[in-house]
């Protein structure tokens, strides 16, 4: 039985720079990794990284990334309040998501650590596969204003799978 958790309270920091910053960030476009602090660093776009960290740590994250030496133009922006994040977990998570998302969600093509942006039920959504305890799990990142719409769509598609919608948000990731 898959579960849907509202994880919007996560700190979210957007780092923008030349793509060559990827080596320093530890990850390039299309992949994600945990940094030593436990934050999830996501290669979110071309020259764009989204850092997901524990709630209320955005200031620390901004400070940490601004403090790294870099010659070129770099923007580090606290976007914690700008995105809704929903975590979808369970053995049926990919099957549920396939009702809304045209991307191949098989383990071969989008294993844990994979990142992509796609249309999910008509919305532009960032999808991060981040398995938990061996169970398939997806972080779905969407413009905050569309958060309710995405949640409603997942709930509608989730009826087939007895989706459990967990409220309120839980600490951590």
């Amino acid at each position: 039985m898959p579960s849907l958790v509202d994880s919007s309270s996560l700190a979210k920091v957007l780092v923008r720079a030349s793509p060559d910053l990827g080596d320093s960030m530890g990850v390039h476009f299309g992949l994600s990794t945990r940094d030593p602090s436990g934050a999830l660093v996501v290669g979110y776009g071309y020259g764009e990284w989204l850092v997901l960290a524990s709630p209320d740590s955005a200031g620390d994250v901004v400070h940490r990334f601004e403090g790294r030496p870099y010659d070129g133009l770099r923007s580090v922006i606290d976007v914690t309040h700008g995105y809704a994040v929903l975590r979808l977990t369970g053995t049926d998570a990919a099957e549920l998501l396939s009702r809304l998302c045209p991307i191949d969600l098989s383990d071969d093509v989008t294993p844990t650590g994979a990142v992509f942006r796609s249309v999910v039920g008509g919305l532009s959504v960032g999808v991060i596969r981040d398995d938990e305890a061996g169970e398939p799990s997806y972080l779905l990142v969407v413009d905050r204003s569309y958060g309710q719409s995405l949640s409603d769509m997942l709930g509608d598609a989730g009826g087939e799978f007895a989706l459990a919608y967990v409220r309120p948000p839980l600490p951590g990731m």
């Binding site: 070129g72 998302c101 071969d108 093509v109 989008t110």
Partner: protein
């Protein structure tokens, strides 16, 4: 037991332990679970299920499957149900279509009396004059339109969708399809097997078959995903394959149809062959059936199709039908073997088959005629995949030639053979499909940073055994005229007549007669149409060619194409508060916003006299960083930006390269290389695209980052003469006039929330401050403002009040007071356009506009009779008829207690004091005077600079 129900048959699909009743044309009939509508009716001896399109001749079961053209009914209000495929349900109410007063006594059968006037294309020759009677002709012809009646109530059913990515998709679940699927799965591929019928097995289902059981067991064991009652409707570029799943028994939630969108690495076509009708006189009488229809009825549904039969056979299917009939207790009065030159000359009957005139002159009484004269290859999916149809005269059918590398075919569509030969071919095709799919997976993974696809070991193509179509006599047109297209009531004589009228190509004859254009989409009639046109034109079969099949392969409901209906709304973090506090919603683009809270006029007065707050979260907001931001602003706005100091704000107008106003908004400088830009809410996405387009293509060397932060902030505008008093109670920012002048921006704490951005700007014409709060704290700050300002008379105001306030102040709204042709000077933005800048987007066109000076101008307008509010878009006219402008914005002003407007007028009418005439939609008109400025209230701007 029903009169024509047989004793249990091996392989029957009905469950005799679950019987129920349903209604057919208001009469009760018995059925078993697993019956189709038609099989249940046929079991009770019913033979007539519809009337033909033009002549309303009685029609009975012909093919007994989804494609049966004579079995379309209305079931539980749903029109055009394929009764030979749709499973009957307890209590189902089924009725015939387009018959009156009944199927049995249909007055429209009188058309047969005037049949000579209803030949092909008759509507091009009749019902033309007198022209004034066209409405009457239309009404008459509409009564004869076929196809049931669309329900008028909204469709409450669920139409679902799903995306899949199989390695191999097999279209067709007969023995060849099953074998190919099994072989592909055994070779490691993820396989999706799609079968149009309710069960896998194809022709193996007709009679007990141990081969069928072992194939089904192997499919189960191989972990293949199987969709039955599903059909591949189309194949598109890159093997994007659409599958219509008509039902999924037990699915939760229930859906009526599901559109499965598949990206298959390899597609295998195994659709089998279609039994083709014989064109001979009387071939549309109830009681004329194809051999496969008879085999289906007897073996799957245990129904005796008649009492006394004549069989015309040219192949093994016809021979097997003879055996099935005999086993079912039907007297087979005569078997005419076409391979020996025997034939049917004519089928006699009126309400049904009565006798057959054989080619040897004998007449045989019967009530059932079974034909097995040849096979049609369903080629649509092959041809849309890029193959061409090649006619094999020795086999009397077409085969696909030239399939692309990612599409294969097996089974009857390729050729004939024993079951072992078919299975061997299919197995080889399946293994080869898996090999190619694995190769594709490796190629696709090459550009994918996170794919984990192991390189496929070097392998050679699988050797596919030869499979050719067996020889078959060419049997299309009999000795007498018969129906070619049963759906469209087109006979061979009609096609011959069309050719003689000059429509001598297949494409022309098709369109003129509508042959192949009915619900079966040519499956039953295309080849016979080719034969008829070929015979009439003398061109020969191969030279006549084929028509072009296009997706969808079968009709698809609009519901399936539309899928789930989700209203994608953007919500401000304050939306729940608005709803809880009586806001009337306004849908503005994708946003839902509060239009008003019960009294927009009172809200306007509150802002003018005290203080109001409005949720302006949808305003587009962009974080701009980098040393080249001023260059970007200089390029994209018509005004100047280089001297904008930190802490200052400027209003900007963005024009396209043709000088047309695109967007407007204010931009504030927060730091040396940090700016915050606002745009209109509806134009935010377009403005973002516009900026990125320039940065990524024309100015790639510029160091600028544009990051959308619209939803990052809850934006609250605090407006009114007491707005400073209110906000100062909640913020640590110094709001005094000297410290915080007009068009300035600061950051600070508001309502205890840090990192807020506070602007001193105005859209209402009053002193106002716009607060951008981190969105998660928006409700807290909103409620804090309301609580802190209770003694100041604070109240929320909505979009309607804001529109009135800004109109009173003369502020334009891009897209409301401008249109797709309004260039900057036309929008009274002369003051903003700085032509002395070296360059900016739109400069050449704006320079030319200024020189021409012949454009419509935006002006403030005041109706002479202030009590009348002209509707927006009312035309401004001159000399009674010439349009010289229009009203763009119009409201009753609570502040002035009179109508106030903005409008675009011709230049010669734009001088202050000019009176213009506004044409009202009802036909009257009013006079309005041009003001010296756009603003109706406080034109000097004293209030907002307080």
């Amino acid at each position: 037991m029903s009169s024509h129900r047989l004793s249990p048959q091996p392989g029957e699909v009905i469950d005799r332990g679950r019987s129920f009743t349903f209604r057919w044309n208001a009469s009760p009939f018995a059925a078993y679970d697993g019956d189709t509508i038609v099989s249940a009716l046929a079991a009770s001896g019913e033979r007539v299920f519809s009337r033909s399109l033009k002549y309303h001749r009685r029609r009975g079961l012909l093919t007994g499957d989804f494609n049966d053209p004579n079995c379309m009914v209305t079931a539980d209000g749903e029109p055009n149900v394929r009764a030979a495929h749709r499973l009957v349900r307890p209590g189902m109410s089924v009725s015939s279509q387009d018959t009156w007063p009944s199927l049995r006594f249909d007055v429209k059968a009188a058309n047969q009396l005037v049949g000579r006037f209803l030949g092909p294309g008759f509507y091009y020759k009749t019902f033309m004059r007198p022209q004034r009677l066209w409405p009457a002709y239309d009404g008459v012809l509409a009564r004869f339109a076929h196809g049931g009646h669309a329900p008028t109530a909204a469709d409450g059913d669920r139409y679902d969708q799903r995306y899949v990515h199989p390695d191999v998709l097999v279209a067709g679940g007969g023995p060849a399809g099953m074998a190919a699927a099994i072989a592909a799965a055994d070779a490691g591929a993820r396989v999706l097997l799609v079968e149009e019928e309710h069960h896998l097995g194809g022709h193996l289902r007709w009679g007990e078959s141990s081969d069928l059981e072992s194939l089904r067991a192997a499919v189960d064991a191989a972990g293949i995903e199987v969709l039955t009652d599903a059909v591949v409707t189309g194949r598109y570029d890159g093997n994007w394959v659409s599958v219509l799943q008509r039902s999924a028994p037990g699915a939760t939630p229930h859906f009526r149809e599901r559109l499965v969108k598949a990206r298959a690495k390899h597609l295998i076509l195994a659709p089998g062959l279609l039994d083709r009708p014989y064109v001979v006189g009387g071939n549309d009488l109830p009681g004329v059936m194809l051999s496969t229809a008879v085999r289906r009825l007897v073996n799957l549904y245990a129904v005796r199709p008649g009492d006394r039969a004549v069989v015309l056979t040219a192949n093994a299917s016809g021979d097997a039908a003879v055996a099935d009939l005999t086993r079912a207790g039907v007297e087979v009065a005569r078997v005419l073997d076409a391979r020996q030159g025997e034939d049917i000359a004519r089928i006699r009957g009126r309400s049904g088959v009565r006798a057959v005139e054989c080619s040897d002159g004998s007449v045989v009484d019967c009530d059932l005629v079974v034909t097995a004269v040849g096979w049609t290859t369903p080629l649509t999916l092959a041809t849309v995949s890029g193959a061409r149809a090649e006619f094999r005269p020795e086999a009397a059918r077409f085969v696909p030639v030239g399939l692309p590398d990612d599409v294969s075919a097996t089974g009857g569509i390729v050729g004939d053979g024993s079951l072992d030969e078919l299975l061997d071919h299919a197995t080889a095709v399946g293994r080869e499909a898996a090999r190619r799919a694995a190769r594709s997976a490796v190629a696709l993974a090459a550009g994918n940073p996170h794919a984990r696809v192991a390189a496929a070991p070097e392998s050679f193509a699988v050797d596919i055994p030869d499979l050719r179509p067996a020889e078959h006599p060419m049997l299309f047109l009999g000795r007498t005229d018969g129906i070619v297209d049963f759906s469209e009531d087109v006979s061979a004589k009609d096609l011959k007549s069309a050719v003689h009228e000059g429509y001598d190509s297949l494409e022309l004859a098709k369109r003129y007669t509508t042959a192949t254009m009915g619900p079966s989409q040519g499956k039953l009639e295309a080849v016979n149409s080719i034969a008829a046109v070929a015979a009439a034109s003398g061109a020969g079969f191969a030279a006549t060619g084929t028509t072009t099949g296009r997706p969808p392969y079968v009709p698809v409901s609009l519901g399936a194409l539309a899928g789930r209906s989700h209203q994608l709304l953007r919500r401000s973090p304050l939306q729940a508060w608005h709803e809880a506090n009586g806001a009337t919603p306004l849908y503005a683009g994708s946003w839902i916003r509060p239009d008003h809270y019960g009294d927009a006029a009172a809200e306007v007065r509150a802002v003018r006299e005290n203080v109001g707050i409005i949720d302006v979260t949808p305003l587009g907001k962009f974080d701009l960083r980098g040393p080249d931001v001023p260059d970007l602003l200089e390029l994209l706005y018509v005004n100047k930006w280089r001297k904008l100091a930190v802490g200052s704000v400027r209003y900007g107008v963005m024009c396209a390269e043709d000088g047309v106003v695109l967007d407007d908004g204010v931009t504030g400088r927060l730091g040396p290389e940090h700016y915050l830009m606002t745009t209109t809410s509806s134009g935010a996405d377009a403005a973002h695209d516009w900026m990125e387009r320039w940065l990524q293509t024309e100015r790639r060397d510029w160091q600028v980052h544009v990051t959308p932060v619209t939803a990052n902030y809850a934006s609250i505008n605090v407006a009114g003469p007491r707005s400073r008093d209110l906000l100062s109670r909640l913020t640590d920012v110094d709001l005094t006039p000297d410290a915080f002048g007009y068009m300035r921006v600061r950051t600070g704490t508001v309502g205890g929330i840090a990192d807020c951005v506070v602007w001193r700007i105005g859209f209402t014409g009053e002193l106002s401050f716009e607060v951008h709060v981190p969105a998660g704290h928006g409700v807290l700050v909103w409620e804090a403002l309301l609580a802190a300002g209770a003694d100041l008379g604070v109240r929320p105001f909505g979009i309607e009040a804001q529109r009135i306030l800004r109109l009173e102040k003369g502020h334009l709204i891009v897209g409301q007071d401008t249109d797709g042709l309004t260039q900057a000077y036309g929008a009274a933005l002369d003051w903003a356009v700085k032509l002395d800048k070296p360059d900016f987007v739109g400069k050449p066109e704006l320079l030319w506009q200024q020189i021409r000076d012949d454009h419509l101008r935006l002006v403030g307008l005041q109706p002479v009779d202030g009590a009348v509010v002209p509707p927006e878009a009312s035309q401004i006219v001159e000399d009674g008829t010439r349009i010289v402008g229009r009203i763009t914005s119009s409201r009753m002003s609570p502040t002035l207690d009179r109508a106030v407007c903005l409008g675009l007028v011709a230049p010669h009418l734009s001088t202050a004091g000019t009176t213009v005439t506004v044409r009202l939609p009802g036909g009257g008109s009013l006079q309005a005077r041009v003001l010296p400025q756009l603003a109706h209230v406080d034109p000097e701007g004293v209030r907002l600079r307080a």
